[in-house]
């Protein structure tokens, strides 16, 4: 049991609800759906109906009005049972951000449906030739009367082919970040063509694919913010998104630690439980310490965000540290189980493969260091 200090009794009820859902709806399905690369649309719907797809947005918009501090702990609980579902919640929450924060009054009318769990969102920034260097993106949006005509290819899009709406970052102006705009596109728009899902190393219940835009006509009133505001919107959305990934990482690492500890208490060698060997006990102690530190870092960044204070660097630190921790802890969990850790009868080898993606998405951990270093150089 993780001891938590929560801001309100409501938050405690929310975490109880998340725990119940995670134990009853997520945990029993995770192994099988991951093995079969099956996207759990019904589980996401259940999670959405319970109100978990719009947690950090105002109640007036159809959200739950929860601070990031609480939202992230919900993600953490979900991730401890099934990373793909937690990540789906995180990506969806990220995909709602541009409209919630920068949308016009007209666009904001879409929020209740987006936040209420009826619609699933995706966030289309990366491209085949431009991942870390997102400002170099080449997908074009050309104004034609009342529409933008979008052409180009987006890559690595979580929920491709499954989402109901896409945030599409495209070039409406000249080169560089100032030429980028954000469009909120309906997934049914003709010319938006999700490609075959990628064959990923793990995390296969979460569909990720390229999306080809072939003269897709997006109504001009779906421009979020002004023309040229897209890159700023993308980066500000990522501050929150990175905290979401940090929370996923903490949850995954906690699951791996709990599993490894359970095993180490049961498994005996040389006549005693292996946890009693200092070599293993210290390894688990280090893992527990790193997880606590990652959680504290993530919550600190979240509280800065909730207080309206600058938090980009802290969010980057949290993402970097939490996901590196998840990678290390899941790898060590395999070690704790020995041969049993290397086979799919136990979930730890899957968790180890899943952890890897967290070091890559929403800015690789190298890019997080770039963000932190840039912050140090400037301040």
């Amino acid at each position: 049991m993780v001891e938590r200090i929560l801001p309100t009794p409501d938050a405690g009820d929310l975490l109880d609800l998340a725990t119940e859902l995670a134990d009853r709806e997520l945990a029993p399905r995770a192994n099988d759906d991951e093995a079969r690369s099956r996207f759990p649309a019904d589980v996401i719907r259940t999670v959405g109906r319970a109100g978990l797809l719009g947690l950090p947005y105002p109640q007036g918009d159809g959200g739950a009005g929860q601070p990031y501090e609480v939202y992230l702990q919900v993600l953490e609980i979900l991730a401890s049972r099934w990373l793909a579902v937690a990540e789906a919640v995180s990506v969806h929450t990220l995909a709602c951000y541009p409209v919630a924060r920068f949308g016009s009054a007209e666009q904001r009318k879409l929020l209740p449906e987006m936040l209420g769990g009826d619609l699933l969102g995706a966030y289309c920034l990366s491209e085949p030739q431009g991942g870390s260097d997102a400002a170099a993106l080449t997908t074009r949006g050309v104004r034609d009367g009342g529409h933008y005509v979008v052409t180009g290819t987006k890559a690595w899009i979580t929920h491709a082919g499954r989402a109901d709406f896409y945030n599409v970052f495209c070039r409406t102006g000249g080169p560089g970040p100032d030429g980028i705009s954000c469009l909120l596109a309906d997934a049914r728009t003709p010319g938006i063509l999700p490609q075959r899902p990628e064959r990923t190393m793990a995390f296969r219940a979460s569909p990720v694919a390229q999306i080809v835009f072939e003269d897709a006509r997006v109504p001009a009133d779906r421009l979020v913010g002004g023309e040229g505001q897209g890159f700023r919107i993308a980066m500000s959305a990522l501050d929150g998104g990175r905290l979401g990934i940090a929370a996923c990482a903490v949850g995954l690492a906690q699951a791996a630690l709990d599993y490894a500890v359970g095993y180490a208490r049961e498994r005996t060698q040389f006549g005693r439980p292996i946890i009693d060997f200092q070599g293993l006990g210290f390894l688990l102690a280090d893992a527990a310490t790193q997880i606590s530190a990652a959680r504290a870092l993530m919550l600190h960044a979240a509280r800065l965000r909730d207080a309206g204070r600058p938090h980009s660097a802290e969010a980057a630190k949290a993402k970097l540290f939490a996901t590196d921790t998840a990678m290390k802890v899941t790898t060590d969990a395999v070690q704790v189980l020995g041969g049993a850790g290397y086979v799919s009868d136990h979930p730890v080898e899957r968790w180890m493969r899943e952890a890897k993606v967290l070091q890559i998405v929403e800015g690789t951990n190298q890019i997080q260091r770039v963000v932190i270093a840039r912050h140090l150089a400037r301040s």
């Binding site: 409501d10 009820d13 929310l14 609800l17 119940e20 859902l21 259940t46 109906r49 319970a50 109100g51 978990l52 947690l55 739950a64």
Partner: protein, 259 residues
């Protein structure tokens, strides 16, 4: 339609459960207590009827003060309000007395439909729905796996060992349901917050005009004379395969009538 759903708080059937050593009643203090599972299906059915036909859903529960927690949980799924019959004298009530108290409370609510689970996981006697219907002078449609409401007519598919029977009755009636009838929803976070503000009325025996000696251990028509712990699990039978392992496994399964 004015629907009342009966909800009972029971010890979690997944956890270790005990009878009390002093009076052989269910120990509600040691186990973690939850809504009787079958009652969640009754709540879900009530909510679906309300969604389709309008009306109001009220939760009615008889139980100790601690049952209020389960009542709030039930309310978080969506009912409009709740009535909690709570009185120290009710401790140890038998099914007959329980039905007397619930019937009295139901009369104050004049429902068009009473929904409940077909059994509770603690008592498992399955008689309360029938007794209630008898006391209220209405039909008992029990063990439903499907319920349709058509104007004032209720039709259920009554689950039996072999299949089902179709039974029809005019409202008001008591309908008890099995877990085959629907898939209960989870409370939503908004529902949980809203439930905190929903009306929860408590009634004591005096409010229902029932003398204390007609209920509880004092007025019980049945009594648990003694009880003992379930014997600890024996070691089981180990079959070491000496070439005939498969045959011996099948023999075991056949002897236990598994195959």
């Amino acid at each position: 339609m004015n629907i009342v759903v009966l909800v009972k708080q029971v010890p979690d059937s997944g956890a270790e459960r005990n009878l009390r050593s002093d009076d052989s009643t269910v120990d509600r203090g040691s186990a973690s207590n939850v809504i009787n599972e079958m009652d969640e299906y009754a709540i879900e059915e009530a909510l679906r009827i309300r969604e389709a036909h309008g009306g109001e859903v009220t939760v009615l529960s008889m139980g100790p003060a601690g049952a209020a927690e389960s009542i709030r949980k039930a309310l978080s799924m969506g009912p409009d309000g709740a009535v909690h019959v709570v009185d120290d004298a009710l401790h140890g009530s038998c099914a007959v007395a329980t039905s007397k108290v619930l019937a009295a409370a139901l009369r104050t609510l004049s429902p068009d439909l009473v929904l409940c689970g077909a059994e509770s996981t603690d008592g498992r006697v399955q008689v309360v729905p029938h007794m209630l219907a008898e006391r209220l002078g209405v039909a008992a449609l029990t063990g439903a796996r499907k319920l349709t409401v058509d104007g004032g007519t209720l039709t259920v598919e009554r689950q039996t060992e072999e299949g089902y029977e179709v039974v029809t009755a005019p409202a008001p009636a008591v309908v008890s349901v099995w877990d085959t009838i629907n898939e209960p929803r989870y409370p939503s976070f908004k529902g949980i917050m809203a439930a905190k503000k929903k009306p929860l009325r408590t009634l004591a025996l005096a409010d229902l005009g029932i003398p204390a000696d007609e209920v509880g251990l004092a007025g019980a028509t049945s009594a648990v004379v003694e009880h003992s712990q379930r014997p600890p699990r024996s070691g089981g039978q180990k079959i070491t395969d000496g070439g005939d392992g498969g045959v011996r496994l099948v023999e075991f399964l056949a002897a236990e009538k598994f195959v």
